[in-house]
Each structure stands twice: as structure tokens, then as C-alpha cells.
């Protein structure tokens, strides 16, 4: 017993992994971490600036909530509506478009609702609803969830309003929802990056892509230190600036390869996107 306690005590007081120098905390959507993009980008940023970036990977809704409490310094999200609300509420003084990719409609290869033949996402969703084939929603206030709800709204089908046997919410991340979908032969909307890096797709396939409604832009938000005094705005600004710099944009476009990137850099010259300009009020 004393020996055991001694051992545990030793473990307890052993030094923490060194975190020398400056660091900032980034809340990023799970797709950017799970696809490996951040592992590709952040070491480059750190070697350029010496700033360590600690990543909390959560859905866009949760990421913005962390920002609202001032617990993170930069947010990488893909829910434009929610991002604009965040800006308008003054939690961030700056938002930049960073990159984009797209959502894809995924379902079992057998495609019982025949969505493959449909011209666009609106028609595909109507076909699923008509056939009452299982559709899995993230249901977690993530960017993907928000995009999915926009598509249903465009299709004129009030999924949220009524409980439907074929429409189910997992309340989980993209990976977990893909697992469930592959087990239940369900349709679902997923971001392309997570889908491509997902390792156990089973019989799931991409059934529809390319609709303009499925455009998926990612924005970087700099949490305002005027609103959250302990937010590291100066460090965060360096990250946001780097992400939209030629070096950062080139790095994004080169992952995993320049021929077939998972995320497309925002090639437009980086004009400020905020209603109030670069400087927080």
C-alpha cells in the first residue's frame, strides 16, 4: 500500500508536458481535425510564428458556444448564419473566409430511394421523404446539421416540425453518424473531407454531389478581447492572418495533394468580411 501510494504520488507530481512559449486555443470543426488538415497546417504555422495552437475539435455550434464564453481565441467554423450572428453580437471582431469544400449526399449503394438520378439535392431529399427511407441527421447544431436543415427547408419538407419514423437525429459527430448510417443503411449529408478520410464506410457511397446548395464555406473568427478580456486576440490575429496569407492558402490547397485537395483555398483576394471592419469596436 505505501509503495503503491508512493508510486502514484510520483506520477502525480511528475512534470506536465512542457508547453514552452505562447499558445492559443482554436475551436475547429471536427472535419478539419479528423481529415488531418490541421495536423498539416498547424506545424507550418508554428514554425513560422513560434505559436503553439491547441485544438478543440467540436461541431460549429459548440465551437461558437466556446467562443461566446471566451474559452477559445480563434474559431474555425462552417455555419455562415451562426457565424454572422456571433459577429453581430460582438464576440468576434473579425471574420475571414478561409476555404471551402462541399457537402455530399451519402447513402447505401443499393440506393432504394433512387436519389442518384435526381438533378439536385432538393429533388433527392423529396425522393427520400416520399419513399420514407431512413435519413440520419447529425442533430447537433453543427455546420453540417445547419446545412442539412437549409436543404430540407429548400425542399419544403418540415422535418424538424414533426417526428417522422424515417428521419432520425443521432446527436453525434460526423464520424459517429457515419457509423450509424452504415449499420442502418441510411441516407445522410456529410462534408466531403470527413467522408473521404472515414475509414469504415461499409456499403455507403456518394450518391449526389455538385449542387450549389451543397457549397460549404469555412470561416475563421477572431474572438474579441474587448468582449473577452482574457482572449489572446493578438496571437489569434496572427493565426487568422496566416490562414488567409499566400503561404497559408497554398498549404490548404496542397492537402493532401495539390491535384485533389480536400479543402479549396479561398482564392479571392482576402477582403475583410466583417460588417464593422478589421478593428473591433
Amino acid at each position: 500500500m505505501p509503495a503503491l501510494l508512493g508510486l502514484l504520488l510520483l506520477l502525480a507530481v511528475s512534470p506536465a508536458p512542457a508547453s514552452a512559449g505562447d499558445f492559443l486555443t482554436l475551436a475547429a470543426t471536427t472535419s478539419t481535425r479528423d481529415s488531418g488538415l490541421l495536423d498539416h497546417l498547424l506545424p507550418r504555422f508554428q514554425s513560422r510564428t513560434g505559436i503553439e495552437v491547441r485544438v478543440i475539435a467540436v461541431g460549429s455550434g459548440r465551437a461558437l458556444e466556446l467562443g461566446r464564453r471566451g474559452d477559445v481565441d480563434v474559431i474555425l467554423a462552417h455555419d455562415r448564419t451562426a457565424e454572422d450572428r456571433f459577429l453581430a453580437a460582438g464576440h468576434a471582431g473579425l471574420r475571414r473566409d478561409v476555404m471551402w469544400n462541399d457537402f455530399v449526399l451519402i447513402g447505401p449503394a443499393s440506393d432504394p430511394a433512387r436519389v442518384r438520378d435526381r438533378p439536385g439535392i432538393v429533388e433527392a431529399l423529396r425522393a427520400i421523404a416520399e419513399a420514407e427511407r431512413p435519413f440520419l441527421s447529425r442533430g447537433d447544431a453543427s455546420g453540417t446539421h445547419a446545412a442539412e436543415l437549409r436543404c430540407w427547408a429548400a425542399a419544403g419538407i418540415p422535418v424538424a416540425a414533426s417526428a417522422r419514423g424515417w428521419y432520425r437525429e443521432t446527436g453525434s459527430g460526423q464520424g459517429a453518424t457515419l457509423h450509424v448510417a452504415s449499420q442502418l443503411d441510411s441516407y445522410l449529408l456529410a462534408d466531403r473531407a470527413t467522408w473521404r478520410s472515414f475509414r469504415s464506410p461499409g456499403t455507403l457511397r456518394i450518391l449526389l454531389e455538385g449542387d450549389p446548395l451543397l457549397h460549404n464555406p469555412y470561416g475563421a473568427l477572431l474572438v474579441s478581447s474587448a468582449r473577452h478580456p482574457r482572449a489572446k486576440e493578438a496571437l489569434g490575429r496572427q493565426l487568422v492572418d496566416w490562414l488567409v496569407s499566400p503561404e497559408g492558402q497554398a498549404a490548404i490547397g496542397a492537402f493532401p495533394s495539390t491535384d485533389d485537395p480536400l479543402f479549396h483555398p479561398n482564392v479571392r483576394p482576402s477582403a475583410p468580411q466583417t460588417p464593422s471592419g478589421d478593428d473591433p469596436a
Binding site: M1, L4, L11, A16, T25, S197, S200
Partner: protein, 234 residues
């Protein structure tokens, strides 16, 4: 079936290669849960002993609460800890969110009720047998509590192992207050969640097997120490 085979192969490879990422994650898991256990023992043993020995108004209600707290949901504890440690929370000044320290605190909150409640029971049972003799020998309150804890050392060792098991196996609290940050707050369980989300089930399962093996190893060591101790003294 082949997934399971893959998982064992992955686990085996991870262990044999001493994969540096794995070593780091295992070390952090042990350090966080070990520290949480030490803190929980420092708090829970004396508190449990005191409740076991003292008679006071509200004691029954307190015992009910202590026993119920053994089943605190980790994710609830994590949320409360997050609210406290958040930059806009009351302890935000400490800048502890997303650090191993925050994880230690959350797990301490999870484990302390287990240690306290089981210690209370053990001490109360021993007190029935020994306390009158100890008082007759002139032992004061602290001496009686200390002696009863020492008398219950074998039971309490199992209690501490149960606490350690709960800490190292939980994911709900550490993922919220730790954030699963690579090389900083990523432990075995949060790594398993991550790999599951990435769809890399063999790696996730492999990590799970390492975690289980670790638990077996820790318990086997503790058992060994106990048996030697039992032979020497008892």
C-alpha cells in the same frame, strides 16, 4: 470478426513498437488518473473515516448523498467543472481549462465520492469491532480514525483501485474540460473516441485493448503488493 482480429493486431503492434504517441497518451492517462486518485484519497479517506466515526444530525442524509454521488455521471461532472473553469466562469482567472490540471480536478470530483463512501462503510464496520477498545486505550479522535484506516488497509486498497478504475476509464469529464488536445490533454479514452469518429475502428479497438491491459497490469501489481503485505503483517 476480421475487425476484431485487426484490432488485436493493432494493439499488439502499438505495444511492441512502443509507439511514441501511444506512450505519451498512456503516460498522461496514468498521470491524470493517478493524481486524481491521490487527491481523492487525501480528501476521501479522512472524510469517510470521520463520517464513519462521528454521530451527528443529518448523518443519514449525508450517507445517502455520499452513496449516490458514487454514481455521478462523468459528463455532468465535466460540465460543472467546465462551467467553473471557463474563462467566463468563477475560476476562469486560473486559466486551467484545457489543461491536465483541469482533467485531474474533474476526475478527483468523480473519484472522491467513491473513496469517501466506501471508506465510511469500511471504517464504520471496523469501528463496531475496535472502536471501544481504542477509546479504552486512550486514543483520541484522529488516532482512532488513523488506526481504523490502517486496520482497513486491504479493503481500502481495493477501494482505491476501484476509484482508479473509474477515473482511467471515464471519457465524459476529461473530454469536456481537457478538450482532447493532441500532445496536451489527449488520454486513452478520448483518443478512442477520436479514432472511432475517424472511422478507424481497428485503431480505436486497439487503444481500447491497451487500456484494458493497462487496467489489468495496475490491478495485478496492486494485488501483488497486497499479498506480500498480507503475508508480512496482517
Amino acid at each position: 470478426m476480421s475487425d476484431l482480429v485487426d484490432a488485436f493486431a493493432t494493439a499488439f503492434r502499438l505495444i511492441v513498437d512502443l509507439d511514441p504517441d501511444l506512450v505519451e497518451i498512456v503516460a498522461l492517462s496514468l498521470r491524470v488518473s493517478g493524481a486524481a486518485l491521490v487527491l481523492a484519497a487525501l480528501l476521501g479517506l479522512p472524510f469517510g473515516a470521520a463520517v464513519g466515526l462521528l454521530r451527528f444530525r443529518g448523518r443519514r442524509a449525508l450517507i445517502v448523498l455520499m452513496n449516490a454521488a458514487m454514481g455521478l455521471p462523468p459528463v455532468f461532472v465535466g460540465l460543472v467543472a467546465y462551467m467553473l473553469l471557463s474563462r467566463s466562469g468563477p475560476l476562469g482567472l486560473l486559466e486551467l481549462l484545457y489543461t491536465p490540471t483541469a482533467m485531474i480536478l474533474a476526475q478527483t470530483a468523480l473519484v472522491t465520492p467513491i473513496v469517501a463512501a466506501l471508506t465510511r462503510q469500511a471504517v464504520e464496520d471496523l469501528a463496531d469491532e475496535l472502536d471501544e477498545q481504542l477509546r479504552s486505550l486512550g486514543a483520541g479522535f484522529a488516532q482512532r480514525a488513523g488506526t481504523l484506516l490502517y486496520e482497513g488497509r486491504f479493503t481500502l486498497a481495493t477501494t482505491l483501485l476501484a476509484g482508479f478504475g473509474r477515473a482511467i476509464a471515464e471519457v465524459g469529464a476529461v473530454i469536456i474540460v481537457g478538450g482532447n488536445i493532441a500532445h496536451l490533454t489527449r488520454v486513452m479514452t478520448t483518443a478512442i473516441v477520436l479514432e472511432t469518429n475517424r472511422g478507424d475502428l481497428p485503431l480505436a479497438l486497439g487503444l481500447g485493448i491497451v487500456l484494458v491491459s493497462l487496467a489489468v497490469l495496475v490491478n495485478a501489481c496492486a494485488q501483488g503488493v497486497q499479498e506480500v503485505a498480507r503475508r508480512v503483517e496482517s
